[in-house]
């Protein structure tokens, strides 16, 4: 079974193409454009203003602290995926980052681990699939969540389940909801400079976002290899 899996992964690796400038594989473009427009409206009404207010009201120091907590809670997923990718070094780095930041870093508020030389490199299941060579995927846009691929969507699901903070026993539902909201605003705020720049410089927002997303995911996967 393992041999079959490895062989098929290798075959797919040979077939998989890098998302370069040649042609971006977007067979669902009409639907995607529709969802992208929808997302833009929702983003404009809810998420972006929330992020802008957050950025305007909370000083950078405070926002960094929140980001640190959010990133810290994401470390277990990185550990799991680094193991899946056979990256023992990053698995241990991430594990130690989690331990150090949760203790010395006061529940993740301070990134003490970086001071000691343990730099963050987050991994998710979408990247794991790419490292395994399985990412021959069309591009699609998820409602609300935005750009994705087969691997990234699978990744979202897998990451949800492999995140110990989402388990019923560990934490309660209110925490998970709260954490998800904070995570969404944190991520949106961090992406504000990027989205503002893309909006400003692109002629077709849809094409620019798609290209930036696919290139970025590809490069993240290459960094993991």
């Amino acid at each position: 079974m393992k041999k079959l899996f490895v062989t098929s992964a290798l075959v797919l690796a040979a077939l998989s193409s890098t998302a370069n400038a040649a042609e971006e594989y977007d067979p669902f473009e009409p639907i995607n454009r529709g969802i992208f427009e929808f997302n833009t409206v929702v983003d404009g009404l809810l998420l972006k203003p929330a992020a802008q207010i957050y950025r305007g009201v909370v000083p950078e120091y405070g926002r960094e602290r929140v980001s640190n907590v959010v990133n810290n809670l994401g470390e277990p997923v990185t550990v799991v995926n680094s193991v899946f990718q056979g990256d023992a070094e990053n698995a241990f780095t991430s594990l130690w980052r989690f331990i150090i930041n949760s203790t010395f870093g006061v529940l993740g508020i301070f990134d003490a681990a970086s001071e000691v030389g343990l730099k963050p490199r987050s991994e998710d299941f979408g990247q794991t699939l790419r490292v395994w060579g399985i990412e021959e995927s069309p591009y699609f846009v998820l409602p609300i969540l935005g750009p994705s691929t087969f691997g990234d969507t699978t990744g979202l699901v897998v990451d949800w389940y492999t995140n110990p903070f989402n388990y019923e026993g560990t934490t309660n539902e209110e925490f998970v909801v709260g954490y998800t909201v904070v995570r969404a605003i944190d991520k949106r705020t961090n992406l504000l400079p990027v989205t503002d720049e893309l909006d400003r410089t692109s002629l077709s927002r849809y094409a620019a976002y798609r290209s930036a997303y696919l290139q970025n995911r590809e490069s993240e996967a290459n960094n993991s290899k």
């Binding site: 400038a21 692109s202 002629l203 798609r210 970025n216």
Partner: protein, 212 residues
């Protein structure tokens, strides 16, 4: 005896002066392309360092925004290869254009890039640029990795693709977080061409060059 010595000394001095002048002339010739500004072309790393130093010097100077913009624009043409970027951004569509259309596009693209990216200097807030390393890429290009250090700490990694141009280098692409500017532009422009046609692309680029 003394007389002869003085003569020899004088002749030696004359030789030295000629040698110095030759060295000076050689120096001027090698620096001629860069003579307008301070940057050097010895190596991609040296080039990157001196260009960023020059840009910071212009932006930090006490002159007016208009003066700074003019200076940056003058520098821009020497260090950015918009012609190559223009061709790449159209991809295979470039070959389908007539020669007049091709030259028109190169100019429109050039103005678009200048109008879009030069005014960003106004957002400068004391950032420092650090050149980290260089790596050869395909076709004689070099990728220079730089780190932008913000005042309060955030670091941004930006890579520049430099192409050899004559005795010096020119920027052919900017890559951040794995996202290449010209790759993104190629997808962007291709989308406009296939949905709205090439003339619309030119119109959009022209209008963006005015309203920035």
């Amino acid at each position: 005896m003394q007389h002869t010595e003085v003569r020899i000394y004088k002749i030696a001095n004359l030789k030295l002066t000629i040698q110095n002048n030759m060295k000076l002339l050689a120096l001027i010739i090698t620096l001629l392309p860069a003579a307008a500004f301070g940057y050097e072309c010895k190596s991609p790393e040296v080039f990157a360092k001196s260009v960023s130093a020059d840009v910071v010097k212009i932006v930090e100077s006490p002159s007016s925004d208009d003066t700074k913009e003019k200076q940056l624009k003058a520098m821009f043409d020497e260090i950015v290869d918009t012609e190559r970027m223009a061709k790449f951004s159209l991809g295979k569509n470039y070959r389908n254009l007539k020669p007049e259309e091709q030259s028109e596009f190169k100019e429109v693209y050039h103005n678009f890039i200048m109008a879009t990216y030069i005014p960003s200097f106004k957002k400068y807030n004391g950032e420092k640029v650090e050149v980290i390393n260089t790596k050869t890429a395909g076709a004689g290009d070099v990728i220079v990795s730089t780190k932008i250090l913000g005042k309060s700490g955030p670091e941004t990694l930006i890579n520049y693709r430099l192409a050899r141009k004559g005795a010096c280098y020119k920027v052919a692409d900017i890559i951040a977080e794995g996202v290449s500017l010209i790759n993104t532009q190629r997808q962007d422009f291709d989308s406009v061409i296939s949905r709205k046609g090439y003339p619309e692309l030119v119109t959009l680029l022209k209008s963006r060059s005015k309203s920035q």
